[in-house]
Symmetry: C2
Subunit: 231 residues, 2 copies
Amino acid sequence: MAERSRRIPEATVARLPVYLRALVDESDAKASTISSERLAELAGVNAAKVRKDLSYLGSYGTRGVGYDVEYLVFQMSRELGLTHDWPVVIVGAGNLGQALANYGGFRDRGFPIAALFDADAAKVGDVVHGVEVRSLDDLPALVADLGHVIGVIATPAHAAQEVADRLAAAGVTSVLNFAPAVISVPEGVSLRKVDLAVELQILSFYQQRREGGPDADDGAVPPGRPAPAVG
Amino acid sequence: MAERSRRIPEATVARLPVYLRALVDESDAKASTISSERLAELAGVNAAKVRKDLSYLGSYGTRGVGYDVEYLVFQMSRELGLTHDWPVVIVGAGNLGQALANYGGFRDRGFPIAALFDADAAKVGDVVHGVEVRSLDDLPALVADLGHVIGVIATPAHAAQEVADRLAAAGVTSVLNFAPAVISVPEGVSLRKVDLAVELQILSFYQQRREGGPDADDGAVPPGRPAPAVG
């Protein structure tokens, strides 16, 4: 049970799903082995980082051959807890919640939508992509029933903190927040945030570069700014 | 115009929006300066990396004081091309497309939704959150009219490649793909992908760890696997 106590750095954990996606694509393309260089290219990191990350999983590959694709897929799936399904409850049955309930990428990868909740009594009882919209009052009973679930917040920004509080109170210990708001959760609850605007900002960076650099008048640092030193 | 030729590593570019978000939050909380340690904590990286990343922007902070929050916000906004709006065209007026059209986080951060397209003639003419759904046939004329836009693919997986081809043909050079499909774009087009399942996988990793480790029978590496070597 060496794995259970081994500490995997957070940044490595965040890269595992990216590696896994690339490996599944390679596997679909019938590749049986993969070099760290190729995996690095697909994942957008350098090869040394790939080797280091995989070493945390106890995988070292074979010189001149690389890594066994199927085995890495198995190993990562196991590390990521993907060898069984994790039911997801979505709070917020608006467009985003409905879109998430219908997003093929969740169900296909072991995250079936167990329930969709909404605070609006008028929406309760609606059926969205085969999932009935339920009242938030039913949340604690459902969580008690399902055991471990992942709670997804898909409400407007102003409702996000209250929903996070209700999820935590119901015993949900993994929360994914899509609302464009900063929220907090009690200790012992994992919180991740998806900021849909970040990718647009990265694209605008490259678009602007193609157009000739930052659009300030002269691209120079304004006067009167701190001299170089360590912050 | 030193900025215009300076090369900022891709990984740094990807962190800039994360820093920016943290800095805007700090600014909202009335902080006037921030240490690299604090910014590192907020962004989930280490302080040395923050200092290195900011040095690419020509920002070095002041020893014992840190960085000027407002100035960093200005500088990053400029680098990211956020000092003017970038119109966004969304292809796919289903739930996800509608959710994105209505997602407050886009408009608020300089990415107004300029148009929503759908291949389904029955949807054309509908008005979604104030945006009329248009036929994909109108795409080239609209792009020619708006100049640089960011194209967002919010179709089902099977339609994503065709839409990417049509965006590129219309002259769109920045594409963000939400469809759970791997697509390719011509050289000169920036492509980013949002994989909504990645965050769930990271949460399942931590959830599983709390429950006692990988759920394989004994957590050990199966027999018959390659011995340590470099892949």
